[in-house]
Amino acid sequence: MADLVKVENLSVSYKIGGGLFSQNYLKAVNNVSLTIKRGSFFGLVGESGSGKTTLGRALLNAVPISSGSAHYDDGDVSYELSKLDKTQLADYRKRAQLIFQDPYAALSPRMTVRDIIAEPIEVMKLASDREEIDSRVRTIASRCRLNLEHLRRFPHAFSGGQRQRISIARALVSDPRLVIADEAVAALDVSIQADVLNLLKSLQKDMGLTFMFISHDLSVVAHICDHVAVMYLGRLVESAPTRELFKAPKHPYTKALFSAIPSLNPDDQGTAQRLEGEIPSPTNQPSGCKFHTRCPHAIDICKKEEPSLQQTDPQHEVACHRWKELFNT
């Protein structure tokens, strides 16, 4: 499979505070490299403050890229995201779309579902007359299992799961290639969550979409994604095919993250490896490996040198000084 997105040494900094002569920056995403294959379901996990949302926004060109590059190539067009001109950006907006977390906040309460789904078509001028707009809206709505009756109503008449299906329809109406789903099921109840996940998966197959699925919920990611990347404090610490990552994580952080998930088995207690402390503030980052302050295996070199991303298997990468001795079984 060809690559849809290829990110190289990408950093995103936000300016915070500072005075006339001094400027402080917060590096939300720090030197990240990854590739997303066409037609894949790419998972991005990490705790709050790890930079996963910022990375997603950078791929949508919604925040400026400070350094490094992000290359997009869907076969029809090929863009360097930091160097888009106005017409290219307008075209890229059709090709890359976003699904938000909170389906209650993401939909205007004063627009009908039809108008909500039609708005991207109108803004991007994808259709000339009302009839064509309506037919596109109807097609995508039925794909997202909304019926014609639903289109006339306002969002308040819908449950959380239905609203999220409306958000999905709106994101997909411009026929994008890349969809960034930022915590798209986090606000939903379990019985509804499974339904939306199954819908995303079937839409991906039917429409040939590529998903970047940002989530803090590892069980969800394990079920839906083909490949998962783990972030910590703006860095990519591990990236591997889902099965491999969950079976044999090679970074102590990934391992700790997995063992922190409360098990459904009441007898399965105490074996969990607990992480001490909390994720450090991004404005005051530790030296060396960013994880050394909480890592149970940290040694001297971890405090001094930042580990680079190393390939351990064809598609498995890890950034840890000690992965070989710790996890190479």
């Binding site: 019985s191 499974a194 199954n198 069980s219 969950f246 409360p262 098990s263 607990r274 909390e278």
Partner: protein
């Protein structure tokens, strides 16, 4: 073990412009001292409203049915919680015998008053201790919940603490009056998994140290499995299944409990597809007749499910299921 609190036939409706909305219907359970109970259900299932009733803390438009009763037992007396009217009487229950912690710790602390001042205020409300003594106890409690440098933290504001710290401070505050029951309403939902694990460990420790009972309200069955002794599953205001955590999670009987477990992505089983429960949770304005779950149930037996409300069938001492499938007591 002795009973701490007993809830009988709790039915609660809210008066709204659109009419009376049933939030909780015919809920009964009891909790022993030192016991941890999980109250599980999706949004709108009535779990928070049920818990708030224990402190008579629901909004002014709440109407309790005449059969509803909540009795709080202590060595000296029995308190009929729902009959309490005077602020002085309510104070004995609210923050005295029962404390509550909430999901979003940032919203629970006043932003412009230091943590310490808030802790001292409530200690003084519930006892006649001096300010100095209350401050000492506050610092001691902050230390107990694992906040480093508590004598400095006590003078900080909520925004100066991280999410995990805030929830620890919230727990410290709730426990400083030595309540007999702690109601924890989704206490770890807003936290990252690694922090959640720390907070859950802390709570498990505290139950033992303080010999207190906890009602854990959550939608996360994993959290319940790791913390609770017994669990009650709620759907649309009714308890539909209850029993020990082990029984309910390992061999669910009610179709809703089964469905919820099948819909849950499990790390120990990546191969089976996720099975959503069909349909949506009905609006509280359109409560289904008969069994509340019959509109989404895959095992409907026919007319009786939409006509009659199923009564509980007991399995052993502590296990009860409200479903027509088990009417004969044997189980299908």
């Amino acid at each position: 073990m002795d009973t701490l609190i007993e809830v009988k036939n709790l039915t609660l409706k809210f008066k709204t412009d659109e009419g009376l909305i049933t939030a909780v219907e015919d809920v009964s359970f009891s909790l022993n001292r030192g016991e941890v109970m999980g109250l599980v259900g999706e949004s709108g299932s009535g779990k928070s409203v049920t818990a708030k009733s224990l402190m008579n803390l629901n909004a002014m438009n709440a109407v309790y049915s005449p059969e509803s009763s909540i009795t709080l037992h202590s060595a000296q007396e029995e308190i009929d919680v729902l009959s309490l009217k005077k602020p002085a009487d309510l104070k004995v229950v609210r923050g005295g015998a029962i404390s509550m912690i909430f999901q979003e710790p940032m919203a629970s602390f006043a932003p412009s008053i230091t943590i310490g001042k808030q802790m001292i205020e409530q200690l003084q409300l519930h006892s006649d201790m001096s300010k100095q003594k209350a401050r000492e106890i506050s610092i001691e409690m902050l230390d107990r919940v694992g906040i480093s440098d508590p004598s400095r933290r006590v003078d900080q504001y909520a925004f100066e603490l991280s999410g995990g710290m805030r929830q620890r401070a919230m727990i410290a505050m709730a426990l400083s009056t030595k309540p007999r029951l702690l109601i924890a309403d989704e206490p770890t939902t807003a936290l990252d998994v690694t922090i959640q694990a720390q907070v859950l460990d802390l709570m498990k420790d505290l139950v033992k140290d303080f010999n207190m009972s906890i009602i854990f309200i959550t939608h996360d069955l994993g959290v319940v499995a790791q913390t609770a002794d017994k669990v009650s599953v709620m759907y649309l205001g009714r308890i539909i299944e209850e029993g020990s955590v082990r029984d309910v999670i390992n061999s669910p009987k009610h179709p809703y409990t089964k469905g919820m477990l099948a819909a849950l992505p499990r790390l120990d089983d990546l191969d089976s597809p996720l099975k959503p429960i069909p349909g949506d949770i009905p609006s509280p304005l359109e409560r289904p007749s008969g069994c509340v779950f019959n509109t989404r149930c895959g095992e409907v037996l026919g007319d009786q499910c939409s006509a009659d409300i199923p009564s509980f069938t007991s399995f052993g001492k502590s296990r009860r299921v409200a479903c027509h499938l088990y009417k004969d007591g044997s189980g299908a």
